[in-house]
Amino acid sequence: MDVILFLIPVALTLGVIALVAFLWSLKSGQFEDLEKEASRILFEEDERK
């Protein structure tokens, strides 16, 4: 049962990594325009140039 003393910090760390990743994506503006992102997939290939 002592292994839990190891597992909990690991779980927390993984969780924090996920949170940080989310916050990063938020700060880099990926949540700005939710509608545009949905239709981005429909844009032509050339656009990406």
Binding site: I8, G15, A18, L19, L26
Partner: protein
Amino acid sequence: MFKSDQKTAKLCQHCGEPIPVHTAGNFCCIGCEGAYNFIQESGLSGYYEHQQLSKNARSLVPEDVPDIHWFVPFITQDDGLSKIHLMIEGIHCAACVWLIEQTLRRMPFISHVRLNMGTRRLTLAWRGDNTHLQPYLEAIYKLGYKAMPFDPLILKSEQKKEEKQLLINMAVSGFAAGNLMTYSISLWSGAEMSSATQAFFTWLVAMIALPTIAYAGRPFFRSAYRALKTKRINMDVPIALAIITATCLSIFEMLYGRETYFDGCVTLVFFLSIGRYLDTLMRGKSRQYAEDLLLLDQSMATRRLVDGSFEIVPIKQLKLGDVITFAKGEKLGADVQVLEGHSAVDTSALTGESLPESVSVGSLLGAGYVNLQNPLVCKVVATGEKSALYRLVQMIEESEAVQNVYTRWADKAAQIYAPTVHLLALLSAIFWLFMGQGWYFAILTAVTVLIVTCPCAFALAVPSAMAASNSRLRQQGILLKNGDVLEKTPIIEHIIFDKTGTLTTGELIVEKIQPKDLAIACALASYSSHPLAKMLLLSTKDISVPSLENVQEFTGKGVQGLYNGQVIKLGSSSFCETEGTGLFLRIGSRVQHLNFTDKLKGGAAEAVARLVKQGYTLHLLTGDGKPLSDEMKNLPFHYIKTGASPEEKHDYIKKLDYVMMVGDGLNDAPALAQSDVAVSFGKATALAQNSADVIFCRDDLLSLMDYLKTANQTKRVVVQNFAFSVSYNFIAVPMAMFGLMTPMWAAVFMSASSLVVVLNALRLKRI
């Protein structure tokens, strides 16, 4: 309530910042002293009493007014008044709004001052020219605020920042809530564990919960603090109190090794953040529409110069009469009239209509239209602030700023609500103590009551419905000029219609005539200056006209000519040697009467029929004395009155109750003002539009059906929401008071109730 604290460093009496050590007097700088004196002299010292300055507020230190030349291009002339829109920086509470408005209102030549606290936009109108702006700007700066000509881009980022922060709060509290739930299971599962293990988990939970609550709870704490500073209670006070109490209670219990409620607190904050985020999103959507329209100003147009060359200029610099090209895919930045070419345009920005409209020479296009087909050359007829688009945005803003009856109820209710809630919580605590359940249970129950009685549902009931229906109405091309009107509409019983321009297109066309004959008539008409001839030509566009010989005009009688050897005449009945009144065409031995009729607008007949079916009493009030056309006579009106003067129309309406008037002409304005709900069209005269409460951008009477439907549904949703919030409280509060609920469930119910109200309101967007 001056912020001077005698014990510690002396604080400036104006801005509240500490006074630098070697500065004598009560102010930190000359600017603050100046502002203070200015405020005192103007008799506005009430400002200091009403302030809600929190420690983090920026100090209101006055700065210098920037060069007036920045502002001059933004001044417009409207009805003899000069007008400008400014963005004010430095506002953090209603006291600031009050101060600025009061100060400006007392200045000379001022006609109109309005500062919208939400958007921080100041609308200023004065009698006089541009030079008057300088003292007004100086006044604003002297008070310590900054003003900039309105730039919609700044506004967008404020809104976005707030949304972003709320999203972060949601993410953080959601993350914490989820993890805490997992760890708390071990504590709640009732498993056998040593006190050391229990302590470990409890401390672990606390370590995650406390920073989260401190971080994600900030919006609520800030809002509650601000309200309490002015000795008022808003809906965030019970929430903040509940969060803090529950947290402190848990800390206390933790130190004694007993059960804690950290997971409940964090989950509470999480759900609250969701509610707040959705609320902000919804407000943001309607504002976004207005801002998107305004962003047009920032792009470019191609102007054709006198010598035929082209130059690219910012839309802001376009002037009346400028000739511009309107290319395919381009979006118009000003109102124009087409000079050359024909194409199809997308009018959805202004009318919400997604079907393209075909346009040709002479057509009027509004700012915001997108050209779908062929390039056009157009002449500018209205720019910037004068364009229909801009006026539309202003109307949206105005209608949002005005509170309607529904919101006023909700506000009043919220005022008594908060103190009642605290009282109930206290009572429950005392009751359970009395019953011998101990401190712990008593406080827990009180906390549960505080949490579950969140008036969010109640407070959201109306605004969410109004925002949703406003948005839908805009998509349908319907504008509300004030918020009251949506509430008044469901009680309407009588609908009064004007005829020309409202039910009919206002354009006279000739009916029952062969195209060849019509062409000949037009050929003759082009030689005449008689009004009837002009009318004939106006109503027939793009008609190829045969060439005639020996054309002669007989003033007052008609026009005569030769066509293929036959004598043709266009004129009065006697001129054409026939009988009757009106315009006649004689081709050889054949006589044709030219019948002008005012065609009914699209959807008019259908709308009228449906309105009758829905039980409205319909009246036709027209200023036109002529007998009605057959089409008109077939419409199922209950009462008809022709030849009515504006005063007669006005008096007619006065005698009725619960009246809606639909009109468009100059002669309808007094009548519109008299009715309970006044409807006009986007293409109507400015005066009619000013007197109207509702404006249909689409020239289609079926918009009336859409509007009535939306108004009725909005009322239904608001009532549903109120009913739901009330019954929710009546069920949940007793449950909490009798200890049948844990704080965590309280959090869930409370947030769920807000969500239910918002989702119900969102239904209005679809139907």
